[in-house]
């Protein structure tokens, strides 16, 4: 069997596992992105989930069988590889279709959103995880690298085809600023769903772990751009090359640990508290009609910039909020423009 087969088989299997697990991540009264009663989700909804999972695995098994047939004999023209890629992509699309079909069925049991909204009057911590000094760390790394480069200014290569290492550092600073903006808006402009008690505490921890992930992504961006900038100076590049990965290792470990924790506790950390402690929590405080394919939340009447994902874990932007669009435009345009101007 070829390595291409194993690679594609792995993608098909991981995709099936991902879609199999997806209903587990949602809050207990959200099924396939639809707000239902917890009684339905725990009763008849389970049969719906089982049927959906069976369809996902049948699709994955069929894709694996076709991949097995296609990979022998070897096709010199490359058509076989194209077909195999098509089958792999088809299995991913198939799983999405299975999700949407199950969603259609769940919609028949949707419950209307509550007319009563409740919020806590207790102020919560909306600062950046680790504090301002910790958040300024990536900028300090970039600044230190810039000072280091400055001492080797004569060795900085010059010419129209050579990237400017200071430009690379400035680009890194822009990336870091964007990560920190995302982290800050996530802590300040996302809704607290559980009002108080242990459910609220774990939800806040869940949000802060996500925000910390963004701050650490800022560190990763600063380290990577510093590595790229330093590499352009021969005297430094040879000394430091390869050592950056050791600096990145703790960040990757955190990311891995945080992902595992979130998988375990589910969306908003709901599985980390006893059902009695979250009996007052209903849905995710967003109306079903504002969700497009469970992925895009568009609600201009909602002041929240970030809301909990309905497809997967973590948070997504409210595409109906103009502040969110500032962030989106910033995320798309600033790196493009800066990349052109600074490199």
């Amino acid at each position: 069997m070829t390595s291409a087969f194993w690679g594609m088989a792995l993608v098909v299997t991981v995709n099936a596992v991902f879609f199999h697990a997806m209903p587990r991540f949602s809050r207990p009264d959200i099924l396939f992105g639809v707000t239902v009663s917890e009684a339905f989700a725990a009763g008849a909804g389970r049969a719906l989930v089982s049927r959906y999972r069976a369809i996902v695995w049948i699709g994955a098994a069929a894709a694996l069988a076709i991949l097995l047939l296609l990979q022998a004999p070897r096709d010199e023209s490359g058509r076989g590889a194209m077909l195999m890629t098509g089958v792999m992509t088809g299995s991913i699309v198939f799983a999405h279709v299975a999700w949407q079909l199950a969603r259609q069925k769940a919609r028949a049991h949707a419950v209307p959103p509550s007319d009563v909204r409740v919020a806590s009057l207790v102020t919560r911590d909306t600062s950046l995880p680790g504090g301002v000094l910790f958040a300024a760390g990536p900028f300090a790394i970039l600044l230190a690298t810039a000072l280091l480069l400055y001492t080797y200014l004569d060795d900085v290569p010059d010419g129209p085809d050579t990237a400017n290492p200071f430009g690379q550092l400035a680009f890194g600073a822009i990336l870091v600023a964007m990560m920190l903006t995302m982290a800050l808006t996530l802590t300040r402009r996302s809704r607290q769903i559980a009002v108080d008690g242990p459910a609220a505490a774990v939800e806040q921890r869940f949000r802060r772990v996500n925000a910390l992930g963004l701050v650490l992504a800022g560190y990763a961006a600063a380290i990577l751009m510093s590595a790229v900038a330093v590499k352009s100076i021969p005297a430094l590049g040879d000394t430091l090359s390869g050592r950056w990965r050791f600096v990145l290792l703790p960040l990757m470990l955190f990311n891995f640990g945080a992902t595992l924790w979130m998988l375990r506790v589910g969306q908003g950390g709901y599985r980390a508290v006893a059902p009695a402690a979250r009996r007052e929590v209903r849905g995710d405080a967003t109306p079903d009609r504002a969700w497009i394919f469970d992925v895009y939340y568009v609600n201009p009447r909602d002041p929240a910039m970030w809301v909990e994902n309905r497809f997967g874990l973590g948070y997504t932007l409210n595409y109906g909020n103009w502040r969110a669009w500032l962030l989106i435009i910033g995320m798309m345009l600033v790196p493009m423009v800066a990349g052109r101007l600074l490199f």
């Binding site: 009563v116 207790v122 919560r124 300040r188 009002v195 002041p303």
Partner: protein, 131 residues
Amino acid sequence: MAGALRVSLNLESPTPAYRQIANDLRRHLVEERLKPGDLLPPVRQLAVDLGVHFNTVALAYRLLADEGWLELKRRRGAAVLERNAPRAVDRRHVDHLMQQLGQIVAELRSAGMSSRQISAALHRLAEGARS
């Protein structure tokens, strides 16, 4: 600040949203569950949590600030003030409230409550507000 301090909003209520928020807050203030020095959440945080426009919460805070309950703090929400001595009685406002109370009493009577029961209930509410 004691736990389980909440503010609620009924979207179907004919009472404007800012009034509902102000009424809930006032109840906590009168019942001294919110004490002088306590900080209320920033306007934007409460607005996001309730899913209403920032101005709605700002209006509720301003209403209570005008009544002498709160001191508004820029970007930091509002702080509860000491409010021992009642300010000068606003006769028109009191008359309006008494008129509303009269309507509620009439509705309670027509719902079957005796005047003694209504009186006891009002007494309980008034005492609760003082304790």
